[in-house]
């Protein structure tokens, strides 16, 4: 018995060594051996060996339900790999600050970082995180199932300049939530264009007592800006052109903002103070017939404790701008996160093993109760589609979704734009004047960052 076992081990080791020498060494041996240290014959994601048993990795994640759900299941990962996981689940601003400080100081405090898609240019572009192609090549295909991810999601959240830095973990996309019962009662069709949306909002406004036509996130802040992004892009505007010359005061941008403002009369009176919570709450309490909101509000709408509209709403594509050829240009705003490995991490292999596990198709359905994944297998699953109303709309929206600029000065540009949007929406300045000022601020910011000469 004993002899047989040790013979097995010996055979295995020899086989592995032959494999390694045969495959890896002649090619780019030095490069690979430097970056990835795995035992012979090892494949990530099979969980058959425990080369890093006893290692502890530190994982930073944003405080959202899926992060908590992953942390809850982590003991399974620890049992299968022997790797201990320390979670640092932090609120958005704290996460941003902590990750930024540790990564710039190169302390190696985190082995996995959670990267918002608008930070990718910063993290990957400034070389804080490490590309993972070499890891991918050494990962079991069934566990990784890269082709099962929606490609647009991988490229927006995990890729920078044709290299892949991480795998998606939590994403969101804008869409239109609407009340199926009210639409049926008044025989209104689901709006496909912005004009139809306004018509529907106008028509349905206060048809039912206390139910406004539409609600949205109008408070100065990132949500207001993301809502507007749906519009500016489909109207044909952009934040800046290919040479980083700001174009946020273009005719299209002004038109989009004037359109956005024209929705205010059909919304609850407090709409310009609504952030994510207030808006989701207003729709969940049945106070509006439609809302333009991230898909991630849907769980609030079918939560019996928070919602009065269970079974009476649907999530679909955000409306778009009608083009001369009759097609409709839609640009749902995209948001989401990826898990990446910092360059200064001392446990990159264990970190990758964790990332593979956390985003595996096996785990995906078990995390779905918290927030949806970005895999076709999950989103297309009929049973899950039935349970999670937003999946169908997500499948339509995600492939055509458009991301915000991912360059480092994003948050500064966003703030300037948000001020202008808020000023125009509340009527303290005209849309064109507010955007002209934002454009000047954009120029100031882009010059300071060296994007503009």
């Amino acid at each position: 018995m004993r002899i047989k076992k040790s013979m097995n081990v010996l055979l295995f080791t020899i086989a592995a060594m032959v494999l390694v020498i045969g495959m890896v060494f002649p090619l780019f041996a030095a490069d690979v051996r430097d970056t990835i240290k795995v035992p012979a014959g090892f494949k990530f994601g099979t969980f058959t060996q425990k080369p890093w048993a006893g290692t502890t990795i530190n994982v930073a994640m944003v405080a959202e339900p899926r992060a908590d759900a992953i942390a809850k299941l982590a003991p399974e990962f620890e049992a299968r790999t022997g790797i201990k996981v320390n979670f640092h689940i932090l609120a958005y601003p704290t996460l941003q600050e902590k990750q930024m400080v540790t990564l710039t100081q190169g302390t190696g405090a985190y082995d996995v970082v959670h990267v918002d898609c608008v930070w990718v240019g910063q993290y990957a572009g400034e070389g804080w995180t490490t590309p993972v192609e070499e890891f991918i090549l050494r990962t079991d295909h069934n566990t990784l199932a890269l082709d099962d991810f929606i490609p647009a999601v991988v490229s927006e959240q995990g890729m920078w300049q044709d290299r892949i830095f991480g795998l998606p973990c939590i994403q969101a996309v804008f869409g239109l939530h609407y009340r199926t019962d009210i639409f049926r009662k008044y025989n209104v069709k689901v709006p496909q264009t912005w004009e139809e949306l306004r018509d529907a909002a106008k028509f349905l406004n206060l048809k039912e007592p206390g139910v406004y036509g539409i609600t949205f996130m109008g408070r100065r802040g990132v949500q207001l800006q993301c809502t507007y992004d749906n519009m500016i892009w489909s109207f044909g505007g952009e934040w800046f052109d290919a040479n980083y010359r700001p174009t946020v005061d273009s005719r299209e941008a002004v038109e989009a903002l004037e359109y956005f403002k024209s929705l205010v009369p059909y919304a609850p009176s407090g709409v310009l103070t609504y952030d994510w919570d207030e808006n989701a709450n207003a729709f969940a309490q049945g106070r509006a017939a439609m809302t333009i909101q991230w898909q991630n509000a849907a769980p609030t709408f079918y939560n019996p404790e928070k919602s009065k509209i269970i079974g009476k709403f649907e999530f679909t594509l955000v409306p778009g701008k009608k083009q001369p050829d009759g097609s409709i240009k839609r640009t749902p705003t995209f948001g989401g996160w990826s898990l990446q490995i910092p360059k200064d991490s001392r446990n990159k292999e264990a970190a990758w093993e964790f990332i593979v596990w956390a985003s595996s198709p096996e785990l995906d359905p078990r995390l779905a109760h918290s927030q949806p994944g970005s895999r076709f297998s999950g989103l297309e699953d009929p049973a899950m589609q039935k349970k999670y109303i937003e999946y169908d709309g997500m499948l339509k929206s995600l492939p055509i979704a458009k991301g915000r600029p991912r360059i480092a000065p994003y948050s500064e540009l966003a703030d300037a734009l948000e001020v202008a949007l808020s000023e125009a929406m509340t009527g303290s300045k005209s849309a064109s004047r507010a955007l002209k000022e934002a454009n000047r601020k954009f120029e100031f910011i882009l010059k300071r960052w060296g994007f503009l000469k």
Partner: protein, 303 residues
Amino acid sequence: MGRRKSFQSFKRKYAWVFFIAPAVVVLLGIVIFPLIFSLTLSLHEWNIIRAGGWTWSGLENYATILFLDPYFRTALKVTFLYLLGTVPLQFALGLMVALILYRITRKIIGFLRTSLVFPSIMTPIVVGIIWRLMYNPDMGMLNYFLKLLHLPPLNWTGSPLTALPSVMMADIWEWTPFMALILLAGLQALPQEPFEAALVDGASQAQVLRYITLPLLSPVMIVAILIRLMDSFKTFDLIFVLTEGGPGMSTEILNYYTYKYGFKFFHMGYASALSWLLVVIVTVIAMILIKTIRSRGIYAAGG
């Protein structure tokens, strides 16, 4: 014997060092060092996102703020409006409350004093959230009362005209009790003789207030106003929770503006320069205030 004596005199001469040293060390560590550090930083360009580290830029940050930054002036204006709208009102209300409480000598005073401090001991974030709920235009308490009075509902924090006054109102609610407590303590510490003399001379209540109470109280008043003034400059939590500086720039006071540059955009040098301008402005205002009051002689008479 001689050695002992010299040790004694050494002790007498230098014992203070041991008492003062801890305080000085702490002061150096957490006040003086950061001050010098941030002053140095304000003369550099340092963005955490960029790997470059500190680069010397001289007075460029200050020049940019003062001459190029289009929003700095707006933020400054909002800050002064905020100061003018909160501190004088808090002072007036606080003085009134203190004078009323001073009259109450029955047992209930303990209860009143305790309940009075509640707003000021609550975490400012909590205060912000409470007011955010009350200001909610659709479900908030304030609009409900307006409706009962047959008044049109207000869009409290959502309209550029009412947003700043709304934040001020929360601030006044939070800090008036603090003002009142300081003034009450001042009142209770006043000497009784002048009041007795006034009583003998047959002065009216109003005369006592005008010619005795207020002048005697003025040193305390100045301290209270100065503390609130400096605190108001640093208001952050309320604005963060209630409006995030919006709508537009209408509630973005300088402190919030500085926070954004430091911890949202990570321009550390620029944010340090902004903070130093804030320090200069606060110091100048405080000095002017102290000087004018001193020159009127009230301060000297009281102190």
